[in-house]
Amino acid sequence: MSMSQEYVELFKAKEQLLEKASPSFMMNIREEAIHQFGKTGLPDHKSELYKYTSLQKLFEPKYNMQLQPSNVEFRVEDIFNCDVPNLQTRLEIILNGFYKVNGTALTRLDNGIIIGSFAEALRKYPELVKEHYAKHAGFEKDSLVALNTAFAIDGLFIYVPKGQVLEEPVQVVHLPMTGYDTMLHYRNLFIMEENASAEVIVCDHTLSPFRFLTNSVTEIYIGSGAQFHYSRIQNEHLNSNLLTNLFIHQEADSTVRSNTISLHGGLIRNNTNVLLNARGCNNETYGLFLSDKNQHIDNYVNIDHAKPECTSTQLFKGILNDQSTGAFNGRILVRQDAQKTLAYQTNNNILMSDEAKMNSKPQLEIYADDVRCSHGATTGQLDENALFYMQSRGIPRQEARLLMLYAFAHEVIEKIQVTPLKDRINHLVDKRLRNELSRCNNCSMACGDLPIPD
C-alpha cells in the first residue's frame, strides 16, 4: 500500500472519532482534504518546492498518530516555564497537539477577546471559525496542509475584536510528550479584526526523547489596520521534526511582523505564506537558524503581492555547522494589479564546516512594472581579515569568531521589538553559539540537550 493510501485508510478507521470532534461543515472539508492527499501524496524531490527537503524519508518511520488529548498527572506549566524575564505573558500550552485545559478551555476577556482551545471555539463560536477555517490555508495544492486539515482536531484559537488590544502577549508552548514515536497535527486560528492588535510568541519544545513529527497549520487573518507580531522559537532535539505551515492573510494598511528563530531540532521546514490582499499592507518576515549535527532546516517564504502599494521585507540568515544542511526558498510574487510594490528579500548564510551544505533559491516573479523589488543571497564564511584584526587586538580567535557570528545573527534578532524577548533570544543564541545548554533558569527541562536516541 502506498504511503498516501495508508493515511486514507487511517482516516477511514478513525472517521467516527473525527466526526465526533467536528461539525458537519468541517467533516466535509476533512473528507475533501484526505481525498486530495490520497490523490497527490507527499511531494517528492522532483517538486520544486521540496527540491532540497525529503518528506518521503521523514514520513518513512512508523509513527503513532495522536488523535486524542493526553492525560498527564502533573501540571505541565508548573515544571515547564519558558523563562522570559521581565515579560508578563499569558501562557498557553499545546500538549501533543491538544490545548491543555487549565481551568476553562476557552476564555472570554472583558473586551471581547477570546483565547483558548480551537476545538472548544468550534463548539461555542462555529460561525466565527467557519468564516476563516481553511479559507487561508488552501489544501488543494499543498499535501501537508491537506494532511493537517484531515487530522488536526485542536490547537489555539485567538479572536481579537475590532479596535481591541491584547494587552499581554500570548506565549504558546507546543510540547510533544509521549512514550512512543508520535505524529502530531494541530491547527491554530488567529483572527484580528479591524485595528486590533496582538503579540504571540510560540515556543516549540520537547519533553521526551522519542521521534516526533509535528505538522501544524496556523491561519491568521489580519483585518484592516490591524497589527500582529509573531515570534517563534524552535528548540527541540534531533529527533523532533517540525513542519510548520503559516498562512497570513492581510487586509488594508495592516502590519505583520514575524520572526522565526530555529536553534535546535531535527528536520525543520517552515512554510510561510503571506497574502497581501489590499492596499497599504506591510509585512516583515525574519528568520534565523543555527544548525549542527545532521540537522536540516528549510525555510520557505511566499509573499503574494495581490494589491498595490504594499511593502514586504524578508531577511533570513543561517549559520551551519557539522554535517547540517539548510535551504532557503523565498518567492516574491507581484501580480499585475500590484503597482507601487516595494519588496525586498535577503538571505545570508555562513558555512562553518566543510560537511555543511546550503541551498538557496530566492525568486522574484513580477507581473507589474511600477515596482521596486530586489533580492540578494550570499553564502560564505567569516572574514579572515576581521578575525585577524581582532586577534591582533588581543581577542582570542575563538572569541573573535563568536563575536562575529553573534553580530551576524544579531541583525535578525534586533528586529524583535519586545525588548525582554529580544534580550532572552540574544542570550539563547549566545549560549547556542557557545554550544552551551540553552536551559531556561526556571525550567527543570533541558530542551535541546536531551540524550539523542538512535
Binding site: N349, S360, Q363, L364, I366, D370, C373, A377, G380
Partner: protein, 482 residues
C-alpha cells in the same frame, strides 16, 4: 507623458521584423516526420561513418523515452515532432570551389544580412562559416586559418577530415542523452560548425557562423563543437536570423566547448530570430543546449549573448569549471516584446579549486512578454576557495509584461564565497525627467537609459557584434515604456 508613452508603445509594436525576407532557392528536403529511417537517411545523405549513425540512433532511442521538460516558466504549445522536416539542404551542384559558384540568390540573402562573403571579407576580417538551413554553404578564410593549423569547417566536413577529433569530443560536454532537446539534436543534427585551435595558437581573427532558418517547417538542428587545445585562444561569434513565417519553427541546437590547459574561449551570440507578430503568431522556438567545460587548469570560457528574437527561448549556456583556477563568465541581455517568452540563464558548476565565475544578466521585458532568468551556481565539495558573483537585473517596460528571477545556489563547501543579487524595476522616472528637461525627448531618453542599462554586457561583445546588437536593441525596444 502617458500619451507619449502609448504612442511609443504603438510604434514599437508596429515595428516589423526587419530581416523577414524569404530566399527562394531550391532546397533538397526529406519528408516530414521522425523515425529511424529518417535518421539513417540523414546519415546516408551526409555520407557519415557508421559510428556516428550508431550514436544518432542511440540518442533517438533515449529521446523516445524522454519527456519534454515542463519546469521552465514558459507556455509552450504542443509540438508535433512528426510534423517537422528534419533535413533541408540548399540543393548543391557538386562541390563549390570559389565564391562565384555560390547560388546568387543565396548570396543576396547574405548580402542583405551584411555578411561579408565576398571581397569585403578581407576588410572586416571575419571568417564566416555560414549555415543556411543545415548545410554549411561556404567557409571563408579557411586557408589563412589552415596555415596556423586551425581547423574551422562545417561539421560534416570535420567528420570526413578529422574523424578522430570529432569522435573524441562529440558528446563529451553535452552527452547525447543530456536532455530532451539535446537528445533530439543528437539524433537528427544536420550540420553545424567545427573548430579546433591547436596548442599555443592564438586565433588571429574572430570566427563567425551565421545561422538562418529558411525553408518553411524545417527545424534547424545544428551542432557546434569548439575545442581550444592547451594555451589556445579563440573568439567565436554566432548570429542568428530567420525569415518571417506563420508557423512556429523549432530550433534545437547544441554547442559544446572544450577548453584545455590555459586555453581561453570567448563565445558571443546575437540572436534575432523571428519573434512572431504582435499577436504571438509564428516565431521560432529556440531550445538550445550550450555548455562548455574548462577541462584544463587555468582555462577560461566566456559566454556573451544578446537575445532579442525567438517566440520562445529556452537556453542556458553553462560552464563546467573542472580545471583548477578556471574561470567561467556569462553576460546576457535578453529582450522580450509582444508575446515573446524567454527562460534563459546559466549554470556554473564549480568542481576545481580556486574556480571563479561571474554572471551578469540584464532582462528587459515589454509588451505582453515574459522574461525569466534561471541560473544555477553549484559549488562542489572540492571546489575550495571558489568564488561566484551573480547580478541579475530586470527592467519592465509596460504593465502587462513579466520579469522573473529564479536563481539556485547550492553550496557544499565552507571556503567558497557566493553572492547573488537581483533587482527589478521600471525605467526611473527621475532619469527620464532629467533628460526631458535637458531637451531630450522621452523616446530618446528611454533609448539612452536602456542602452546604458545593457552597456555592461554589450561592452563584452566584439566590435562588429556590439554595433549590430545596439541596433537590434533599438529596433526591438526603443522607447517602449508605458
Amino acid at each position: 507623458m502617458e500619451n507619449n508613452h502609448d504612442e511609443v508603445i504603438r510604434e514599437v509594436t508596429q515595428n516589423e521584423y526587419k530581416y523577414g525576407f524569404y530566399t527562394d532557392i531550391e532546397t533538397d528536403t526529406l519528408p516530414k516526420g521522425l523515425n529511424e529511417d529518417i535518421i539513417r537517411l540523414i546519415s546516408t545523405k551526409k555520407k557519415e561513418p557508421p559510428w556516428l549513425l550508431e550514436w544518432r540512433l542511440k540518442a533517438f532511442q533515449q529521446w523516445k523515452k524522454m519527456k519534454m521538460p515542463a519546469w521552465a516558466h514558459l507556455v509552450i504549445p504542443k509540438i508535433d515532432y512528426q510534423d517537422i522536416i528534419y533535413y533541408a539542404a540548399p540543393k548543391q551542384k557538386a562541390s563549390l570551389g570559389s565564391l562565384d559558384e555560390v547560388d546568387p540568390e543565396l548570396r543576396k540573402t547574405f548580402d542583405k544580412l551584411g555578411i561579408p562573403l565576398d571581397e569585403q571579407k578581407h576588410l572586416t576580417g571575419v571568417a564566416v562559416d555560414a549555415v543556411m538551413d543545415s548545410v554549411s554553404v561556404k567557409t571563408t578564410f579557411s586557408e589563412t586559418l589552415a596555415e596556423l593549423g586551425i581547423i574551422f569547417s562545417s561539421f560534416s566536413e570535420a567528420v570526413k577530415n578529422h574523424p578522430d577529433l570529432v569522435k573524441k569530443y562529440l558528446g563529451s560536454v553535452v552527452p547525447s542523452t543530456d536532455n530532451y532537446f539535446a537528445a533530439l539534436n543528437s539524433a537528427v543534427f544536420s550540420d553545424g560548425s567545427f573548430c579546433y585551435i591547436p596548442k599555443g595558437v592564438r586565433c588571429p581573427m574572430e570566427l563567425s557562423t551565421y545561422f538562418r532558418i529558411n525553408a518553411a517547417n524545417t527545424g534547424q538542428f545544428e551542432r557546434t563543437l569548439l575545442i581550444a587545445d592547451d594555451e589556445a585562444y579563440v573568439s567565436y561569434l554566432e548570429g542568428c536570423t530567420a525569415p518571417m513565417r506563420d508557423e512556429n519553427q523549432l530550433h534545437a541546437a547544441v554547442v559544446e566547448i572544450v577548453a584545455l590547459e590555459r586555453a581561453e574561449v570567448k563565445y558571443s551570440t546575437v540572436q534575432n530570430w523571428y519573434p512572431g507578430d504582435k499577436n504571438g503568431k509564428g516565431g521560432i522556438f529556440n531550445f538550445v543546449t550550450k555548455r562548455g567545460i574548462c577541462k584544463g587548469n587555468d582555462s577560461k570560457i566566456s559566454w556573451t549573448q544578446v537575445e532579442t528574437g525567438s517566440a520562445i527561448t529556452w537556453k542556458y549556456p553553462s560552464c563546467i569549471l573542472k580545471g583548477h583556477n578556471s574561470i567561467g563568465e556569462f553576460y546576457s541581455v535578453a529582450v522580450t516584446n509582444n508575446m515573446q517568452q524567454a527562460d534563459t540563464g546559466t549554470k556554473m558548476m564549480h568542481i576545481g579549486r580556486n574556480t571563479r565565475s561571474t554572471i551578469v544578466s540584464k532582462g528587459i521585458s515589454a509588451g505582453k512578454s515574459q522574461n525569466s532568468y534561471r541560473g544555477l551556481v553549484r559549488i562542489m565539495k572540492n571546489a575550495e576557495n571558489a568564488r561566484n558573483f551573480s547580478q541579475c537585473d530586470s527592467l519592465l517596460l509596460g504593465d502587462k509584461c513579466g520579469a522573473h528571477t529564479f536563481p539556485y545556489i547550492e553550496v557544499d563547501n565552507s571556503t567558497s564565497i557566493i553572492e547573488h543579487e537581483a533587482t527589478t524595476s521600471k525605467v526611473n522616472e527621475d532619469q527620464i525627467f532629467y533628460c526631458n528637461q535637458r531637451g531630450i525627448g522621452t523616446e530618446k531618453a528611454i533609448s539612452l537609459i536602456v542602452n546604458g542599462y545593457a552597456k555592461e554586457v554589450l561592452n563584452k561583445l566584439p566590435m562588429e557584434f556590439a554595433v549590430e546588437a545596439q541596433k537590434l536593441l533599438q529596433i526591438s525596444l526603443e522607447g517602449s515604456v508605458g
